[in-house]
């Protein structure tokens, strides 16, 4: 049960990363590799601010701002200096590695003795309280933290969805779908991409901020490989929901992230040879991508549903 709660919590935290990747990858059609750097940047900024006495909530929001700055730099490189988008992301990601070291002052900051955004929630229960469901037990504190993270993610997703209903948000979506059309409507496509990447990396940095507070330390290497998991979550998410509506995509990204962490947890729990872990993870992800499709094929009636969906939308 502890494992389940831990996996869901981690999945929810990293769903901010997935939402960030969703914005750049799906909405803007921009393959942004800044993510590896900006998630660690968010963590670094949060850890540094918390250890120097800034309230954790402020530190978390500052992480969002720092990520947004990193994203805008990528955006400016890509649109104003006309550097290939992939390369722009790689450049900023690489630079952020050193920036993160500078921000933290060292490669690892422990947060164990400091209050975090989770501290208040954890106080709702005593450290040895157990919460039980049938035969499973888990520390009540962990359960509260999970609920808190869930609420925070729902709020973030709702804000993101609301933003995409505004005029600005609609223009951003159109920028990704058809830049020529939106340019003809008098929108500056370049600045739209900059804003989108800022939003995307802000969300990613927010994930980093929550991650360091959850795991109790920030480490400069924490971003390595994250962008891949972000892509994986978004793509798994798309296979989990039917439809292309932006709200569904957001929910899909969250579900993809949670499902992904669950699969990793199962792989971990089965205690395979440690060297096989990543192979098994990859196989699970593959299964998650392929199975929904296969299921649809084997159930001919399900095809009808998908056909009906556009009628509602």
């Amino acid at each position: 049960m502890t494992l389940l709660i831990g996996a869901v919590t981690m999945g929810l935290i990293l769903s901010l990363l997935a939402m960030g990747v969703l914005v750049s990858f799906r909405i803007l059609s921009f393959r942004d590799l800044t993510v590896d750097g900006s998630i660690a940047l968010g963590g670094a900024v949060t850890a540094m601010l918390i250890t120097s006495g800034v309230p954790p909530l402020v530190a978390t929001l500052a992480a969002f701002a720092s990520g947004a700055v990193a994203g805008s730099v990528t955006g400016v490189l890509a649109t104003k200096l006309r550097i290939n988008g992939l390369l722009a992301g790689i450049l900023v990601m690489t630079a952020l590695y050193s920036v993160n070291l500078r921000v933290m002052g060292k490669s690892n900051i422990p947060l164990m003795s400091h209050a975090t955004v989770f501290t208040g929630v954890q106080r709702l229960a005593k450290s040895d309280d157990r919460w039980s469901l049938l035969v499973w037990q888990a520390p009540t504190q962990d359960a509260w933290v999970m609920l808190f993270v869930f609420a925070a993610i729902v709020a973030a997703a709702a804000l993101l969805w609301t933003y995409f209903q505004t005029r600005h948000g609609l223009s951003m979506r159109a920028t990704g779908d058809n830049p020529d059309m939106i340019r003809a409507l008098g929108v500056d496509v370049g600045w739209m991409i900059v804003a989108g990447l800022a939003l995307s990396n802000g969300l990613v940095a927010l994930a980093g901020a929550l991650l360091v507070q959850y795991q109790g330390f920030a480490d400069v290497q924490m971003g390595i490989g994250m962008v891949v998991w972000g892509f994986a979550s978004v793509i798994i998410g798309e296979s989990l929901v039917r439809g292309k509506h932006v709200g569904l995509l957001i929910i899909g990204a969250i579900m993809g992230s949670v499902l992904f962490r669950l699969l990793v947890a199962i792989a971990l729990r089965w205690g395979l040879n440690p060297n096989d872990l990543k192979l098994v993870t990859a196989i699970f992800v593959l299964a998650a991508l392929v199975l929904p499709d296969l299921l649809t094929k084997f159930r001919p009636r399900a095809g009808k549903h998908t056909a009906e969906v556009p009628a509602h939308a």
Partner: protein, 678 residues
Amino acid sequence: MRVWSGIVRNLAPGLAAIAMAAAVLLLSDLPKAPRSSTPDASLQEKPTVRVALLQMSSQSIMDDAARQVIVGLEEAGFQDGATLKLVRLNAEGDMATANAMATEVVGGDYDLVVTLSTPCLQAVANANRRGEVKHVFGLVSDPTVSGVGIGKDPLAHPAYMVGIGTLPPAEKSFQLARQINPGLKRVGVVWNPAEVNSEIATKVARQTCQELGIELLEANAENTSSVREAVASLIARDVEALWIGGDITVLSAVDLVVQLATQAKIPVFTCMPGNAAKGALFDVGANYSVVGHQIGQLAGRVLSGEEIATIPWEVAIPPKLFLNTTVTDQLQGTWKFPKELLESADSVIDSTGEVKKDPPARAPATARKPPQQPLEKPLAKRWVLRLVSYVNSIDAEDAERGVREGLKSSGLVEHRDFEWKSFNAQGDMASLTGLVDAALADQPDLLLTVSTQAVQAAVQRTRDVPVVFTMVANPVAAGLGKSDADHLPAITGAYGVADAEGMMPMIRQLLPQARKLGTLYSPTEVNSVFNFEVLSRAVEKAGYKFASAGVNTSSEVPDAAQALCDQGIDAICLTNSNLVSASFPGVIQAARRAKLPVFAFLGSVSEGGAVVVLARDYFEMGKDSGAIAARVMRGESPRVIPWQASTRNRLLINLPAARECELTIPESMLKSANRIIE
């Protein structure tokens, strides 16, 4: 409505998939049947008697005694799980909890309650004033002053309560100290005012010292972590010896006390056997494990139906004397064992090891039991060990091998004493926490961690499971505590940085004309950074100029090494880091081109071409951690095991590599080498 049902239908596959994964996870996480001493009564043959064993705290000495109680019960024919259902309760030092537990056991349909320590005796006696349950007590200094109705006369006790008193022979110990050093004037004692037993012993000591004309200087320590300061304060006040009565807190940190005393060249003498072997001058007293064993036997007699009212309460077996003659030479003042004392002692440790005196023929078998279990003895239970690593690297694998080696050389055998599984996050920080959770889901008894990140993740995820770390350069900077002895309660292990200072004289000897040294390090590895800082301090102190290059990926190593060699250095002195050691061939190639010798601190690079390796490496550190893990498995609480700084060095010399750089290794250095590659 139609929109909502549409949304639900759109989300259905995802929700179903998540639910399915969660179910799989939950099923694989089904709680196992408890492995401990409380088997499910309905499945087993109904136990005949129910016994509660109540202890106040989980210090290792208490745990040892509690284990011996169980052994004593077994010998009396009450095997836990078969004819006995034993419930162990531990108040973990909290008096309110102890009281609640006392209330529970008194009203809880038990046939017998066994209490260890004075507060437990008092709590249960208080709840049990009407004699609802039979009660055997032990590890109590002086039951007559505990206010539970026990008088001086052996049979003057309530008809439902009997036990064993263990008044530390404080008087005797000071008399002996006087005998060994007739000029003894000032003795220091550290004690915990919260321990009733200790207070009683200290009172006796005050009285005795007054009579003997010895000045007794006292310092208080509320917990094991304040023992160091208390001892240091006494030493600063010029005590000539340190005395330990029955104080559990101080005894738990006795290694530290002995260490500090040795540095100050003063002896330690105690009222608790087992410490002479650890470097105390002498012990006189009864061992708590032995007393625990007697308590178990006494409990067995009560359970067999003997009438409590007819059993006398007693003072534990006559105190035994253990001497350690190896200590006296290094002491200030005249400490000399009189001949008759050496003859009358029960055990004498001299430079050849412990010489056991012929035990009296009629002494009970248990009294002869050595205070510590012999190394080869299997553990009482099979420990579930889980090891969590953060990355795959040569160093991490070395460390893991070292841990296994350390367990093995401590006499523990896989499958007999422990079962082992390794987890590796493969460098993925997001998996690390999940990995720790997965390791915890196996309900391990002990978690081993390799690398700083792994121990940090472990600390964040559990407070209950003891953690022994390795491959950590600086645990204080990792946030695991304030000092070696004052650390998070469940976290201990071995740490260390390479012996940079030890390397400098060797470089000077081999390269007298050298002016400038260079190194590569990895700024993103927390361990590498500490090693680098230590090296740069050592280099500066030795008067060399210093050049360095940081590398972030292994592909940068060859270029960085080349750049370093171009900076006019005379030798490369390579700090330990995952990255650099993994791409060591890149370093050695650049060094060969420039004809520069490479000095390093990592055993594995010696064969790769480093001329001199002063290895204080992760294999050795792993071995130290393995030995610490073994101590935890033998019952010591991690809280009282200080972190251990690895200090062992192995000197490895590669002669072909030396020839290539036109270096001749002096004979003296070859002689002290642990390994020479021809």
